[in-house]
Amino acid sequence: MADKKLQLAIYWGAACGGCDVSILDTNEFILDVDKAADVRLWPIAADGKYADVEAMDDGELDVTIMSGGVRNSENEHIAKLLRQKSKIFVAYGSCAYMGGIPALANLVPRDEIFTRAYLDNPSIEPGNQTIPKPETKVNGYDLNIPDFYKRVYKLDQVIDVDYYVPGCPPQPDQCKAAILALVAALTGQADPPPKGAVVGAFERNLCDDCEREKSEKKISRFYRPWEIMQDPKQCLMEQGILCAGSATRSGCGVRCPNSGIPCRGCYGPAPNVLDQGAKLLSAVSSIIDSQDPAEIDEILETLPDFTSFANRYGVAASLLQRSHRQ
């Protein structure tokens, strides 16, 4: 490139597009990005040719911002290609960072996903026995579709990632801050963050920014959000409503608890934590107000399906990564 503009690519793997919308949600900032950078690829908003990317030199792109994890062979292929073409690779959003909601599929066997989608389903064509196949022959024509992997991977399980921006989706201001930090680093105005850093989030957990009043905690039963009318001022955990805020990095602006909805952990674990779910488990169970095994079981009955709360966005990032049922 003749001019000094930054070479930027924005791409999605097994994502929903919400991350791209969060970039659009920086509104006027988009125009600044347009001034500062050549957006070489951005499927949701710009016209980029796959061939163009293939034709790039290695490292020709300054930054690739990729949302979404890896669900199939295509996701992996393009992630690897963009990694090769990029100086800095940013895993953007919870899916890229931790696997995200799609990684809840890691708790179920792949064949059951097909059964449910194509066979056991109230609106499927009566008597249907057909299931899509990667390779088929239809009246003499060979057709194929990509292989659906056994599980979902977070990006750094497939490629080398330089920085992470957590959030589902990342809060637009955080997105802005992260992009500005990278631009500053690339234009030599600031030191780059240490490799592997989580940018666009804070060091402390959500409780640090949550306005709700907190006191000592003891839980004698859990409530599901619809079971009670909550006190908007008091800590949700203390009201018995499971909230992942205490085990989740802050940076989202506390939008869920502020709206009366408990945190589900999309910003991921605290800096020193290996497994967000295990930590939430440890904290939440420790404050159960009983020393009697039977009573403890009763109390836990009021907290169904804890696993999907423990790693709502991070099954792929959890230590066990997926179900190991044989």
């Binding site: 890896v70 440890s282 020393q291 095994p293 804890f306 696993t307 959890s318 230590l319 066990l320």
Partner: protein
């Protein structure tokens, strides 16, 4: 050759670890499959330890603490008592068989009991065969 399970034990310093020492001092013989990691109290045992042990290739994890009401820290073992059932639910959802992770109360004077627990657990885990976790994670990557 029969499969020899590798089991990681997390024992509290005051009751269970002392009990395990007593089993040795009393020359009570038991299966050599459990390697013990000493913590001050079962309350120090973070569920993360159990998950990490499984992810790193342990075929089983044994947790031992003082009997309820007899904790050196008065109520540390109750914290473990509360975490354990929730941890078991989580492990079940991740497809980890029930017998692979176990919590037992072993006092400083129960050398024999410690030996029995180790023997019984070793047999159960041997019956289950090797833990799939480490292998799964390796083959997933290969299959991509």
């Amino acid at each position: 050759m029969t499969f020899e399970p590798k089991i990681v034990g997390f024992l509290c310093n005051w009751c269970s670890y002392t009990g395990a020492d007593l089993a040795g001092t009393s020359r009570i013989h038991y299966a050599p499959n459990v390697s013990v990691i000493r913590v001050m109290c079962s309350a120090r045992i973070d569920p993360t330890f159990v998950l990490k042990a499984l992810a790193d290739g342990a075929d089983g994890v044994l947790i031992c603490g003082c009997h309820p009401g007899d904790c050196h820290y008065t109520e540390g073992n109750y914290k473990m008592m509360r975490r354990f059932p929730l941890l078991k639910k989580l492990l079940a959802d991740y497809g980890i068989e029930n017998d692979r992770v176990r919590l037992e109360w072993v006092s400083a004077s129960e050398g024999q009991r410690f030996a029995d627990v180790v023997n019984d657990m070793t047999e159960r885990v041997r019956a289950l065969g090797p833990s799939p976790v480490k292998m799964d994670l390796a083959t997933d990557m290969a299959e991509r």
